[in-house]
């Protein structure tokens, strides 16, 4: 229900972007957030297969996230569940959806990260509350965005 959407253009063909996201070798090259090392990277890119990534930040803290590939269509679509190990940072399971669209310069990537919700409930109510929620949000955090259903 609460979700974040990002669009990014990448000068590489979709198949290359897809493999960078879904293979252990690809993931270890780009996952580290701040130049700290990726300590572990596993990915089994098929429906029901799992991924696991562990990295150390330059401040010494280690973080691990893992999940399951829910949909996988090379080279256009990846849907995966997402959970941080330990649950201290984000206790619940969320869902990451990535679509890759070919464009002349390479790939347009759209990423949506959503908190898991009962999607049917979400859809039926989406129209009603989104605007008001955003208004309330403005009260607490200027600049944050939320959207309705993923």
């Amino acid at each position: 229900m609460t979700s974040l959407s990002l669009v990014r253009r990448i000068r590489a063909r979709p198949a290359i972007v897809f493999d960078a996201i879904t293979t252990a070798k690809g993931i270890e090259h780009w996952w580290g957030p701040d130049g700290g090392p990726v300590l572990l990277s596993e990915a089994d890119p098929r429906v029901g297969g799992r991924f696991r990534v562990r990295f150390r930040k330059l401040d010494g803290t280690e973080h691990e996230s893992s999940g399951e590939f829910l949909e996988i269509v090379r080279p256009t679509r990846i849907v995966m569940s997402w959970r941080w190990k330990g649950g201290l940072e984000d206790a619940g399971e969320s869902r990451v959806e990535i679509s890759l669209r070919p464009i002349p310069e390479g790939t347009e990537l759209t990423l949506t990260h959503a908190q898991l919700q009962d999607e049917a409930t979400c859809r039926s109510h989406a129209a009603g509350w989104t605007g008001s929620l955003e208004k309330l949000e403005a009260h607490f955090a200027a600049g944050s965005r939320a959207s309705a259903c993923p």
């Binding site: 990537l109 008001s132 309330l136």
Partner: protein, 117 residues
């Protein structure tokens, strides 16, 4: 922590109803309000307002305190803050990840092209 998702579900469920959102908006403007103050702008009776307040209170979005015969209602922003904290975390997280992904994929693309030549 175990109930984090449940709490968020309750927060969002409470926000689905337009009257409840209007009540929250009203409390956002004022510091606190009595139940009759809150009922005034709506064409509904006090018991209906009480029911909405029950839902909002269960979701932790408002608190009620009684002083004599007056019940004072206040906005409690914590549940909204949790939803916002979640959002902000990933607003920081993903753009940097995608920078790294783009740099890596673009280097792979260059490599693939030099092999194809």
């Amino acid at each position: 922590m175990v109930n984090y998702q449940k709490r968020l579900d309750r927060t969002f469920a409470a926000l689905v109803d337009p009257t409840r959102r209007a009540i929250l908006a009203e409390l956002e403007r004022k510091d606190s309000a009595s139940i009759s103050d809150l009922a005034e702008p709506f064409a509904i009776k006090l018991p209906a307002v009480m029911k909405h307040l029950d839902v909002l209170e269960d979701a932790g979005l408002v608190t009620r305190s009684k002083s004599g015969r007056t019940v004072t209602v206040r906005l409690r922003p914590q549940p909204m803050r949790e939803a916002m904290a979640w959002l902000r975390r990933y607003e920081r997280f993903w753009p940097r990840r995608l920078d790294g992904l783009a740099a890596y994929a673009e280097s792979q693309e260059a490599e693939a092209r030099s092999k194809e030549r």
